[in-house]
Amino acid sequence: MLADWQFIGIFLALSPIFPAAPVIANWLLGPRKPNPLKQQTYECGVETVGDTWIQFKVQYYIYALVFVVFDVEAVFLFPIAAAYDQLGLFAAFEVVVFVLILAVGLGYAWSRGALEWT
């Protein structure tokens, strides 16, 4: 039992070397010629404007929550689809009930205007 853990120990000991080695080598070997352009926060891309802590539209959250309906649906439908051959009519009925319950949630959110982007 303990022998199995040896490999994990070796793995843990060796694995930091691989990401660390290029960074250290770069630091040791690379030439340093700083100029103002290179010192900018974003060397590539655009300089940020304003504060990072801004409010953004709360509807993003509502959209994300409504998306969860489909997400959950897919997660549960996939195993049922995979085992469809072995399941009877009753399972198909259960799936219909499940999808209907989720559809009610979606319909409710829709009628409350959660899908309208204003």
Binding site: Q86, L87, G88, F90, A91, I101, V104, Y108, S111
Partner: protein, 504 residues
Amino acid sequence: MNPQSLLPSVPEFLAILPEISLVILIVAVLAYDRILKPAERRRVGLLAAWGSIVILLITVGLWVLFREPEPNRSLVESLMWGGMIRNDLITLIFRVMFLVAVAIVSLISLDVPALQRGEYFALLLSATIGFSLMAAGSDMIMLFLAIETASISLYILTGFLTDDRRSTEAGIKYFVYGAFASAIMLYGLSLVYGITAQTNIYVIASLVAQSGAIPPEINGLFLLATVMIVAGFGFKISAVPFHFWTPDAYEGAPAPVTAFVSTASKAAGFAVTIRVFAAGALGAPNFDSEWWAMLVAITIVTMTLGNILAIFQSNIKRMLAYSSIAQAGYTLIGLVALTPDGSGAAMFYLLMYVFTNVAAFGVVVLVSRETGSDDMQDFYGLSRRAPYLALAMLFALLSLGGIPPTAGFIGKFFIFKAAVDAGLWWLALIGVLNAFIGLYYYLSVVKYMYLYRSDDEEERIPVSRAASVALALSVLGIIYLGIAAGPAFEWTRQAGAAFFPFSG
């Protein structure tokens, strides 16, 4: 696999009929909310209240007419849906409590303008589904899912008044504390699974009962898992030292929600706690188990601390919060007696507590809506401003304090008697002494209502018809259980035996 075998039998359907009906009711409530014009929103609450009364009648009707759940079923026969839930008398009695609570709470919140929304009633009902499955669940996975279904609904309900700072603060506090407790409990449950490789609590219990099934080396680990599970359950029933959220959440939440959390949620927590511990899933149910000593300590501290802290409260909701902590302590005596009578008495106590506390909070809802605060001073001279409200509050307080003609006295009597019968006379003594402390602050409120005068005595407090029906029902419940406790207690006692499938 034969597809035919996947078709559930009729008893299995009947076992979850209340939950199925609740899901249908939620869908109906949400759809009805969308159809109604804003001015007619009050009807959503009426639908929720009537719907839960109908489901209550279905649940009771199944028992009265068809003897479903059949009390003489063996343990294996009463386990349904692959052992996920157990449909027995315990489940039935707790379901009755939850449905009574949700019906009365819906009636009380009908005329609170901020709560006249479809989501509010849908969340109340989805929490009820959670409670109902908590009471029925006999598998750790089912229990955890049910606890989460109930808890998440309650977190949102606690913070439902989004433009009220205290309500949102209470919601966040409840959520953070609850998520933490759930995580710890889940860790405990996963340790139990790791030790036994089983999730069904009755299978685990029979494994634990076999000598040598759990090697002595990992007894410590098993005990650690027990402690973690006790932390999660203790949070649900707000037992000391897991009670810190209680006063804050009860104070900030909308008062009808507080009524619901303090009765139905607590009863559901007790359903799970008693079921798991009495079955012996975390060690044999006898006085030598480590968990028994732990629970006895929690019982004593919960009663005493709850009562002593309640004395110093000047806010009625905080006072009732600490009182509910103390009441959880009394109920725990029923569990630690470890007899069917004790568990039955605990169930009876919770049943009467639903009526009592809902009545008390119902009065608080009406009074604080008129005065705009929850201070104790609002109750000065209440008997002149609203004699019937004061009378309802009087019955609720007498019942909480345990004065004879009310259900509270009978409830305490059965609990203490069960403790004495089990040889725990010292625990009963501590309970009686605590009941005396409790009387002080309950009777103080009576004094404020009947003897003190206030400046605005001329202003009557309006009571809507729905609220008066709800209060009348609760007070009738308090009186009925107080003077004719026999049948109800016989019922809970019979159910109490189902908690202990492996002894006797």
